[in-house]
Symmetry: C2
DNA sequence: CACCCACTGACACAACTGTTTCAGTAACGC
DNA sequence: GCGTTACTGAAACAGTTGTGTCAGTGGGTG
């Protein structure tokens, strides 16, 4: 049985990818091995063999979701760091870009999955979900920090400003996922950007 | 079997209250009738009799949670409306009060439950959770609107401002639930209040 | 050829799920 | 007294859950 430390086999990533697509469509809350296995053309036996147990599978799925999350973060960093001048892009443009990504229709399934995992890890801090919420807070705060110019980044108000930016983004995301009213929520985000600039 | 329209019996509210306390402690995700029933000194049979089926129980629990939520909303309105002058208190003081309530340690279980139900209703828009997320968005937006003075309330920017205020509150709440770092998150909220005032 | 290794199918196991059936019990109006 | 109403206990139902057992398969390497 492959340990967590060993590199994943080809078959493992193949099935994980299929299971990930399934999870995006059906959620993680009542994920069950047998329906999942038949949907992706496998069997519970194989999933057990490749991921150890169900918790291992869920952990792998959460890690896979985090990969998608980190993809945009990297793109943000790449769009920010090598700005031909090596200067970070600043907090406001960073929020602008992140919101454009969050508001894109095709990212809804991933974001719903994220919300589900986040909430679950709050209620049930042990098991496969452990630390997920906390980890994403730290991830995003670090990225936003990297977008702030040097003197601001290390200041006290700089830390407050990026915590606030994160809160606005996530609160707006929650609203958007529930109401699907991009014009209203997007206007609120842009309003905040104006406040932060001023 | 008592319909949803009939008034709940004494025994029904008694058991619902006990089940609610249980849900606050254990979450709704993997709520199961037998453990719940034994914990509150009842039996699955009785829960089925009083609530029809499990979905009915969950629906009743969500409605019960919403009662707690509406309690603070009412208190906000009472602290806002009869300000001796009949004038609303304004958006900024409203956010201030709501945040004080959200950040209070004793409300964490309720807020975790809220987050769980919210996320779940996003992923699984049918069944007992249906519309929960959407309903709370509308609830809170309406309350924030009621706190805005008359000309602002009906304006376009007034709607944007209260959407933004809601986003900040909920984003900050998510951060707080995950990080338990009230000083950092509270500072961000206060920073936002300064921005909104200016 | 033999050998190993990653992978897989069929099936059984015990535990748990929501729900139902049947048989009550206690209180109350008549 | 009798019947009705609200509630309850014990047990069983069929289905699903995660997981274990045993026996393979096919391909690559020695």
């Amino acid at each position: 049985m492959p340990e967590e430390t060993t590199a994943p086999s080809a078959r493992q990533v193949e099935l994980l990818e299929a299971a990930y697509r399934y999870a995006l469509a059906h959620g993680l809350a009542d994920l069950s091995l047998r329906p999942l296995a038949t949907a992706i053309g496998s069997s519970p036996r194989v999933l057990m063999f490749l991921f150890g147990n169900k918790d291992g599978l869920v952990r792998a799925l959460l890690a896979r979701a985090r990969t998608d999350e980190l993809a945009i973060l990297d793109r943000l960093g790449h769009g920010g760091q090598p700005d031909r001048s090596g200067q970070p892009i600043g907090l406001v443009p960073a929020v602008e870009r992140v919101w454009a990504w969050l508001a894109a229709e095709e990212h809804r399934p991933l974001l719903r999955l994220w919300a589900e995992a986040y909430a679950r890890s709050l209620v049930e801090p042990d098991g496969a979900w452990a630390g997920f919420a906390r980890a994403t807070v730290d991830d995003w705060l670090a990225v936003l920090a990297a977008c702030q110019p040097r003197p601001e980044r290390d200041s006290e108000t700089g830390a407050v400003r990026r915590t606030l930016a994160l809160a606005v983004l996530r609160g707006a995301l929650l609203d958007l996922l529930a109401s699907d009213d991009e014009p209203r929520v997007g206007a609120a985000v842009r309003h905040q950007l104006a406040l932060l600039r001023g």
